[in-house]
Subunit: 351 residues, 4 copies
């Protein structure tokens, strides 16, 4: 049901000192139905937002506080931008009345042993797992609308699954032979201090990382397997690109039967017709991260391969928007009855 | 008077294939009171906007046409993003009923001989010059509200004058000894093909350019002289910085009398109190282009110099927003009775 | 035979105003056995080198002249950095006494119909084609030593073939199922003015390009097919990365028989043992373009895939050095009896 | 006296895990007269160099050890790339037989109270201070040749003093009114983990920092004052530029008497005639960091100001080469009788 009350929804942000938290605040500040009522960030508690993110220095928002100081029951919704592992502990303590949009990894994997293996700890809030809706908006709207807790997908899974799920589900491609060569801007690595993301280390250079071992691989496999109706492994090979924002996956797929690249394109076009944010690249445009920067768009293109029987599917998003905070707002809009585009209709920032 | 009709203003953009045109369209697409009714760009006439700017491929806008094909009388307002020299010729032909917000340099300089000297041609629309309001919003609101033609300042003058005009006018600094060391992102050089703005030439490097000969120098001098009540020369030394957006001026000023840097800061704080877009950097924050990227903010800081009797004033904007399209929208809002922040309230995009 | 005369080799550079020409001059200036005797660049004839490349302003070199003004017979060797198509025409006119190291694409493809198809013109110097040695140094030393004309490989083929040729030749991988996801810095696109390589277009963004249609694909296929003993198609998908230098290919291969990724690594380690420039990445280091920047090194790593029966081979070079001018000097050293590392022993420039 | 023995000089590097240490190793690896005999880096002791700097993974060098494990008496020369404060403590313990080229700040300031004020600790090796030669090569050759300990200047002072010292000494400019607007690549901030030098923070942005409070200010003032014969303050305002390497200072000077910008240019040209590394920019070339990247060059230009009686002097270097490791090698060459250009004759790396 549409939100017609005109009353603002009181939101809180946990993990307000990270990049996903910051981008959520950026979007919230211009959202017609949000009021920023609490910002929690334990290591920066007591500081005004301007101290932590000078670019948000003139947003109407309260100072940062410790999570335990927040009166959660006064809030309607909480966005969680904490690192995996810590998110579940706080979320488990929130009152039932608060709807939760989690941007962390904690409620994405349905299998707790897979979670434990990839995230290095037992899941401590398994009672919330089943009810958590996977927040890939375009593929799960009804569940998201009804959920109290939405687990927003990782950035890489968002770009990958939007491109591949319809193709796998329609059995247009062989789910057991999918290669995802992924490229991400450095903001995807977060704001924690690490040597490899210093400007002088990551600049003017391209580096693969976490080959065959990235945590987004099991998430992608979970959803691809579900669509395929069979457990599959997916090659997922990420690379760090010298840019702050943007993510692009180049997916190499084997065509099923006598299908062609054009069939894939047609299937995607049909699947996403009318979607406000997921778009097929028009003829003459190759999906590039520049063309979605700062926006909630996902841009997809399909191309024939030189190897007979293969095709190439390219998908690009802004990792912090459609890959995180933007999709979180999109889900919020569903959960609270706003226009799905409310607060996230900005066009990309180019150049 | 406020615009309360709810009717959208029909706008046209001339020079829609340049960066300022693109940023204007980006902002217009989300403006509550604009309808994009015409896009003119002679060299790309006939193409959909998506072909020229893929990032704007999903904006609701007509295809590009030649300027002579537009029925200007059907429009309410025209934004002009043409290069200097060509702008005046088209603007001179527009019907009186159309209000014009010019982002080119053609109506900024009041002295036609200065114009001819710096822009290499005689001014051909001198009858429009006198009525043209200089569009430095915070310093000329009444004239802008009343004007039919607004000449938006150059990007460098915007950053520089917002910082210095109040200090010069109050005689806090010596107007004859002002040094402006300016730094700009590469988008300031436009989209025309030039070797020095190729990625491999401008990347990973910093270059001064147009030393003592940049066209924004006479514009700065015109306004500083007016505020000072005397003709002065201003040192203006621009540098090209390996980033797309952003502009920062570091101004070195000699303090008048026994004034201090703190006096300057206080004067600016008072002058801009309540302004939605011009802000003094809070303690602990140095103005940096990152903190205003993609937004209409101008961020200013004042610092004591090691040399006694001197101070340093730093000012930063996004060259395409407050330095061009954003300020143009801000002026449009004044001219058509919208909230001054309508369509340009976005927070900066960081990281 | 080693060059023990101490006499310098007189070299000329054709196409001295492009990036490969510039990097050749950069290396030649410090080579112990080269004397730069002629620089040809038709569009810049008459200018000192400093005007065209200020960074080479203090190199001891003659001014640029038109190709027809050069007395080729006074030279011992000519490096050609012209664009494809024009290179063959000049090379065909050079006296027999001059050895030619061609960095263009004109003598790489042995099949003239393939050349005509991909380069849009008939080959006009087919009499030179057969004698032209393919200049992938580590795989063709004897032919290069003996050749009068060496066709240096493209940058992408160099990175790709160094990684894959030994694996294909030893039938460790399935030659008909090779996917090469390639990433290049912008200098690979040359110095000609094109909109997509402007700083503001290519910066802060990642773009695929020439999907399934890049001219390096047939070159890679020619050499892979030769090693495989069968004609194969190879997927080759390049991407433009916001950095000036550097190239990295991520190759996805299907293992033959019961071979493992470790087998591939062992085969490469054995093949390149003792090579001064081709190196296996030590444990703990992922090949990254930063680690070879400005040097003649090629760094290769092999990794197991999550998909059973597959492996990932990563290879990185500096596109202008090992991918062009550096390998050209390496071949020159072989042809003229110098130490193979002469003039190209510089360590990478990091950060 | 020239080094004609052919025997290699055994060198050690203290602080081998920082950027200046790495660049020293890079240059040493190709120096005709150096043998890398010891690498000390306490926090990385026990690791091979490849673990700390993969780009140097194939240099012939011993693994890193703790400083106390080195047998200093077996070495001929030690380069010190430690942070200020820690450098003096180790240098004080080195045997007299070892010549020391210090790239830290510890022996640059002659006045110990100034040192204590700016570096936050008392100087603990004042007995070495007097004998320490200030290593601005072109201005102090005789002292450097004779010294046991050379204190290489900071990167900013190098660029600034090479441009200004001759002008101040000849009284062509007013030493009490010098403004130095400085711009540096991010590598100047070192390899320690700090938030503001993360790629996503420093990228696509320009930030002033340490306004009126940078430690290179007193160093510049010390040398300018000495040349002027009077104590002066100098404005020194640094900015962080989104590039890894490169440094450029734009100096705003007041002309003394009736001198002109041309007089300054002539004085510099005369002063540096014949210098291998310090060059006046030829007509048509503006000094830019790109043109000296990776090289030991300093490129200087002089320009008339729009303000009568003022001039602009621009100077650029690679902060890690002429600004640190390269100048250190240049001084080493003087100290050990090598050609002054030995090991540092590389041309700049562009693009």
């Amino acid at each position: 049901m549409p939100n017609t009350t005109g009353k603002k929804i009181k939101i809180g942000v946990i993990g307000a000192s990270g990049y996903t938290g910051a981008d959520l605040i950026r979007l919230a500040a211009c959202h017609p139905g949000m009021e920023i009522s609490a910002l929690a960030a334990n290591t920066h508690a007591g500081k005004p937002l301007a101290d932590v993110f000078p670019h948000l220095g003139f947003v109407d928002a309260p100072p940062l506080v410790k999570a335990e100081e927040v009166d959660w029951s006064s809030l309607d919704a909480v966005f969680c931008g904490l690192p995996h592992g810590t998110a579940q502990d706080i979320i488990a303590t929130l009152p039932e009345s608060v709807k939760v949009i989690d941007m962390s990894a904690d409620f994405r994997l349905k299998d707790t042993s897979t979670y434990a293996k990839w995230y290095g700890r037992e899941h401590a809030a398994t009672h919330l797992l089943e009810g958590a809706a996977y927040g890939l908006t375009e593929h799960n709207r009804e569940a998201i609308r009804a959920a109290r807790l939405v687990a927003c997908p990782g950035c890489y899974p968002t770009a990958t699954l939007l491109a591949l799920l319809p193709l796998v589900a329609a059995k247009l491609v062989d789910a057991s032979d999918i290669i995802v060569d992924a490229k991400s801007g450095v903001s995807g690595a977060g704001r924690s201090l690490k040597q490899n993301i210093l400007f002088s280390e990551a600049g003017e250079g391209l580096s693969p990382y976490a080959i065959a071992g990235h945590r987004h691989a099991p998430e992608i496999e979970q959803e691809i397997s579900k669509a395929a109706g069979a457990n599959v492994f997916v090659n997922f090979t990420p690379h760090l690109v010298p840019m702050s924002r943007g993510e692009l996956v180049t997916c190499y797929v084997r065509l099923a039967g006598s299908h062609t690249a054009a069939d894939l394109a047609a299937a995607l076009a049909e699947r996403y017709a009318g979607e406000p944010f997921v778009k097929l690249a028009p003829k003459g445009t190759l999906p590039s991260t520049q063309f979605v920067r700062g926006s909630n768009f996902c841009l997809i293109g399909v191309y024939a391969d030189r190897i007979p029987g293969r095709a190439i599917v390219v998908s690009t998003i802004d990792n912090l928007v459609k890959g995180s905070a933007g999709q979180a707002v999109q889900n919020f809009n569903l959960m609270f009855g706003f226009e799905e585009t409310a607060g996230i209709a900005q066009q990309p920032l180019f150049p």
